[in-house]
Amino acid sequence: MPLVLSSILILLAGAALALLLRAHPSRAQAAGVWSAAAASAAGLFAAARVLLTGRPEAFSAAWNVPLGSLTFSLDPLAAFFLVPVFLLSGLAAVYGAGYLKAYAGRKPLGLAWAAFNLLTASMAVVFTAANAVLFMTGWELMAASSFLLVLFEHEKPQARRAGFIYLAAGGAGALMLLAFFSLLAPASGPLDFASFRGLSGGAAAAAFLLALTGFGLKAGFIPLHVWLPEAHPAAPSHVSAVMSGVMIKTGVYGLVRALSFLKPWPEWWGWTVLALGAASCLGGALFALAQHELKRVLAYSSIENVGIILLALGLGMTGSAHGADALAALAFAGALLHVLNHSLFKGLLFMGAGSVLHGAGTAELEALGGLAKRMPSTALLFLAGSAAACALPPFNGFAGEFLIYLGSFRSVTATGPAALAGVLAGLALASAGALAAAAFVRAGGTAFLGEPRAARTAAAHEAGAAMLAPMYVLAALCLAAGLAAPLLLGPAAAAAAAAFGAPLGAAAALDASGPLLWVSGSGLALLALAAAVAAARRYCLGGRKPAEAGTWDCGYAAPSPRMQYGASSFSQPLTDFFQPLLRKLGQYPVISEYFPARASFSTEAQAVFYNSFYMPAAARIRDLAYRFSWLQHGRLQIYILYIVVTLMGLLLWKL
């Protein structure tokens, strides 16, 4: 525990130092990066130790604020979430050192690094806090620091819009959480997690719904996701990586913690979570398919993956409600494993997108193309990350999802209503997987393959070593975590056991390690087979030099880059099919002449939930508020009338 606390302190000191040195951007940057790296190393060590030994650590001190106490606890669950925090933050800091170089002199780098370190520190606080006031302090500082980072390029209107939506969503969520903790609060004394009272009936249901919305607003599942596709692309890419990779997981963590306070769970809770998870993973993948900007694709993919995690949680809860602990244990372990996996590959992908943005100047898919030639490393890493995100073996994405599938089959082959949950979970997972594959093939293919679609992106350049090194590390970790999944199962199960008790945790390790070993084995076999095929191909070529030619375009002599399939044309069959859900806006050419000279066609993905629900709701509320604005119309007489009428009413009513 001292190690984690000291790493938090290092981060805070780094933040302060970066702020003090803001007049010297390079020094401020050095302070930020080095403190982040040092803190990450210390924190990673501490978290790994807890995970390996399984012994929770704790720290407690009095805190002179009402309801507060400085109680920290590092149990396996917290440690399991802390690993990606420190891992990704450390790597993102290194990446950021390269990424932000281009902004030196134009942007306040000292402030950016202070905010970044504060963000990391506050996430560490969130995962280790065992007191509601402390937790909320970490939670809100996390929101505030990331808000500043979202507004890093505040001269762009969409960044300000994103900042507003993000802040408003965060504020609403935080209020829910205050109510949630108030419900659990003991009769007196500080609101330590250990002293929370048990709830039942309506109070428990209220607490569950508050936690689900409050934490859900941070986790970003549908329909509480609207801030996510706005905010994540707006932030600098290393921050997007941290936000998408770990920050939204604080919502998942919170939900898991909250559920641990509220056991036993009624069945409908499980179904609710399951349904939200299914909606989120399907919707996230579908919306990712319709986006035109690389980082937005990734943001929607984050929604999808949070949905997968939620789906697994819901499956586990439903199973647990029916006494199928083995099933639940598998699902929970799968959920946690996916938390780790997602942070690895999503971090990698956002860094890749950042390199594109950095090298080509834009991340608009319709302007990109052919980057694999100019940015070979980035292309390789991004495509590897894509494969991981599509849960393709041998990468890590598959291992986590496999556990969830396994859980769903356990329930399928079992009897009772849990079977239905299993079927639905598996089906949602499979469908989302296919959609996600389409989305990633589209994004990666359009950005990196073929020919550049715009002149300005033809001169793209590869990212520097500071940016590539963290990406290589993450890609290697993605592969390693895929091949060594059985090793990760133990910690994941221990984390689940720490949250939900032994029956829902430890059993998973015994039950799933066999199939997981096979998965690793087949991953290795796949690699071996690939090597064999490659060798055979090399043998067949026998040293002959392949000939070069233009792309065969079915006889057309002068193919041009503009004839390539673009991102929107690639997804058009699918997005058309799902148009009722996607409601993309389009402009279609009307051809009226025999020899039309030019025609243009454009589609635009819209933020369906935001535009169709939140915006009208907000407009309705604003309209109502404007109606009420008549009350403050400026006439003194009427103002005094308010006083008389109220007084009269009070006297008549209360006397």
Partner: protein, 220 residues
């Protein structure tokens, strides 16, 4: 003696009604002054035995409300060039009806609030009615000056209640309260001067620029 006090109270209520129907500004000012004088004399009438301190205090009130305030307000009226009429926002019959409604409500409230240890009946209804009459003056008349008058009527109502009750108060408190009222009227008078200078007249309809009303920006 109590009968006399009760007669005075009836007179006060009649003054309220008169205020509701009077259209002339100067009459209004004089009615308020008369009401103030009556209110100031009420403790002497109801008290029974003579106390020098009470007499002194009553004298101060009578001077203030009977002489100083009318003089101040009439001067303000002349200086600001306000017209002779009170310019009500509602018709006079409506004013009277509202006034009567206030009396009914006040008497109901008075029945709910029996005062202990006082021989004078109708104290609570009369003072409440006067307060509401003051509010009527403020809310249904346009001119700034009538609003000051309304404030004074409210003050009268409160005095009727307080002075008739013999709530024993330290002299300093009573003087402080009196001073406050005096300063309030004085400051309001100054403000009226400023208003007439800035706006050319003292119709408060002009005084409604500060507003949050988003007229026409909703319901579309």
């Amino acid at each position: 003696m109590h009968t006399l006090a009760e007669l005075v109270i009836v007179f006060v209520i009649l003054l309220d009604l008169a205020l509701a129907v009077t259209g002339s500004l100067s009459t209004c000012i004089r009615l308020v002054a008369a009401q103030g004088v009556v209110a100031g004399l009420l403790p002497l009438l109801a008290g029974g035995h003579f106390q020098p301190r009470a007499a002194l205090f009553a004298g101060a009130i009578v001077t203030l409300k009977g002489a100083v305030f009318p003089w101040l307000l009439l001067r303000a009226r002349d200086k600001s060039g306000a017209g002779r009429d009170v310019e009500p926002l509602i018709t006079y019959p409506a004013s009277v009806l509202l006034c009567l409604g206030a009396f009914i409500a006040s008497s109901w409230l008075g029945s709910r609030l029996p005062l202990p240890a006082t021989g004078v009946a109708w104290i609570v209804p009369a003072s409440l009615a006067t307060i509401f009459a003051g509010f009527l003056l403020i809310t249904t008349r346009t001119k700034a000056i009538t609003q000051v008058l309304g404030y004074l009527v409210i003050e009268n109502g409160i005095y009727i209640f307080g002075l008739a009750l013999f709530v024993e108060q330290p002299l300093m408190v009573e003087l402080a309260i009196l001073l406050d009222v005096f300063v309030a009227v004085f400051v309001m008078g100054i403000a009226i001067f400023h208003i007439s200078r800035e706006f050319d007249h003292i119709d408060t309809a002009e005084l409604s620029e500060l507003s949050d009303w988003r007229r026409g920006e909703y319901g579309r």
